[in-house]
Amino acid sequence: MDTARSHRRRAALRRWLGIGTVVSIMAFVCIPTVVVFGVSVNPGEILSFPPDGFSLAWYLRALTYPQFQRAVRNSLWVTAISTVLAVTIGTAAAIALERHRPPGHRFFAGLVLSPLIIPGVVLGLGLLILAAASGWVGSPWLLVFAHILVALPFVVRSVWVSLQNLDPMLERAAASLGAGPVRAFFTVTLPLLRPGILAGVLFSVVVSFNEFAASLFISNRVTEILPVAMFNYIRNYTDPTIAAVSTLLIVATAILVLVADRIVGMSRILQIQGDR
């Protein structure tokens, strides 16, 4: 019938319009990444796209630039240590808040999540002033501390959600079978918290590695981490070196995300609702 066909045509049109919209928007999201790659292989110094040729010279410069090399070492060191510490104390905090519920636990929960809403510059300046007053200026441990603060809310939240999904009867079953509280924790609770802890590790690594605002205030040329080094370079020079660095980082991040997805699954990591 005529009406049926026109309905179907309109439905198809609507569908293609919807898909087209989403594809265009996603293009907007993805194109910058492509452009970065394009500029990074530009033989010349101009930040032009499309590139005039193909050259890996900027990659060479990026990998051999001493300030970047130092910054990468600093970043890896700071991120590794702050992640280990943040995950440990964050997991302990989540267990305390969900299973033990000490008095005032609601207030503490808010406090633990508070670094999320404090602007990085405020945190950075405050820590800088505190460091100056206590003689910690220029110490890499100051950076570690700041990174722990920004990573903590993510760790606590991830582990907390995992804990909420943990059947408390399992811990009782372990007790009924003869496992004391410590053994029950290590043989039952901890293994089942793995998804939450892994998510916490992932978030902690990403947040710490990319931490910029606070780190800018509390680091100096010796201790500065990679984002800060890149920022300073961009302000002073306009060649595609940073495009090369960026591309390398994007590739590394993509690999990390894919590996994490393979091991635990991104939906689980983000604790997104499953298929409906």
């Binding site: 439905a11 609507r14 989403v22 928007i25 996603m26 907007f28 999201v29 194109i31 910058p32 990444t33 452009v35 970065v36 930040l47 032009s48 796209f49 499309p50 440990t88 302990a92 305390a96 808040l97 033990h100 519920r101 000490p102 503490f108 406090l111 508070s114 809403i117 602007p119 990085g120 510059v121 405020v122 300046l125 405050g126 820590l127 800088l128 002033i129 505190l130 603060l149 903590l152 606590v156 590695f209 910029f212 605002a213 800018l216 984002p227 890149m230 920022f231 961009i234 495009a243 960026s246 980082l249 994007i250 991040t253 995300v257 997805d261 991104m266 983000l270 997104i272 609702q273 298929d275």
Partner: protein, 281 residues
């Protein structure tokens, strides 16, 4: 109690953070001694400097930029979030999820930098526009407020998409089906059912993005190139360029206060938009 022992290290870290904020607070009231990081006695001079029109204009700029960013982010994120929440094929959903999240994991500096490349006179956007003949010669996007807003929208989209997708996935598809069974076409269903039901998510996501954008740093710094200043850039100027820690502290506090007031006001106004009380995500 075991709970307190487990909680102690975190609380200790947060106590130090509060101490740092306390020092910041205290510094706002101390006199600035130019050329040194030492401070003089108690004074309100920093605040009187900071409440002058120049600095107040920075606050206004920040609020406006955040507002434009939030609105544009909502508009662009909604279709993607809708597709994500309603997608039936796992492959499509996975693909959207990964593409949405990848920028999120690559860090603010890289993303701000990518917009320098996109918006520059020899960059992507100008290249496309000139080649398509839409404009005769490169348009100045970089170092303008427009450019900063575009960069900030791009920065905020992943978070907004996730928040909206979560909110939309909680809207029972049966509502849409019953609207259709009652005679509403797809467009009417969207306007009268889907959109209102997803309003709480839009509002709470919008508030999150607005608050977050107010404290944006690398994007206005790099894409704005020193000509567009938001709150964080001013604080950096005062504290790290002029070593005026008290001034930076005072401005940071005024901005924080202004931001909280604005967000509080928006939150009050929000339930009327959302049609109900909602917590900020």
């Amino acid at each position: 109690m075991a709970g307190m022992v487990l909680l102690a290290p975190s609380l200790l870290a947060l106590a130090v953070m509060l101490a740092a904020l306390g020092f910041l607070f205290q510094f706002a009231f101390r006199a600035f001694i130019p050329g040194s990081i030492l401070v003089g006695g108690w004074t309100l001079e920093n605040f009187s400097r900071v409440l002058r029109p120049l600095y107040l204009s920075y606050l206004l700029d920040t609020a406006l930029i955040s507002l434009y960013t939030t609105v544009l982010t909502v508009l662009l994120s909604y279709p993607v979030a809708y597709a994500l929440a309603r997608a039936r094929s796992r492959a499509a959903r996975s693909a959207l999820l990964v593409l949405t999240l990848l920028p999120f994991f690559t860090g603010a500096v890289i993303r701000a930098y990518s917009w320098i490349l996109m918006l520059g006179n020899e960059g992507f956007l100008n290249g496309v526009l000139v080649r398509l003949g839409i404009i005769p010669s490169p348009y100045q996007f970089l170092f303008t407020q427009k450019g900063v807003i575009i960069g900030l929208v791009h920065f905020s989209m992943p978070v907004m998409i996730l928040i909206l997708a979560a909110a939309l996935s909680h809207v029972d598809p049966n509502y849409e089906r019953s609207a259709q069974s009652l005679g509403a076409g797809p467009v009417r269903t969207f306007w009268t059912v889907t959109l209102p039901l997803s309003m709480p998510g839009i509002v709470s996501g919008g508030l999150v993005i607005f608050a977050w954008t107010c404290s944006a740093f690398p994007t206005p710094a790099l894409v704005g190139g020193g000509r567009v200043k938001m709150i964080a850039n001013v604080v950096e100027d005062l504290a790290l360029e002029a070593f005026n820690w008290p001034g930076g502290a005072a401005f940071a506090m005024v901005s924080l206060a202004a931001t909280f007031v604005l967000i509080y006001a928006l939150q009050r106004f929000a339930p009327r938009l959302a049609g109900g009380h909602r917590e900020v995500a």
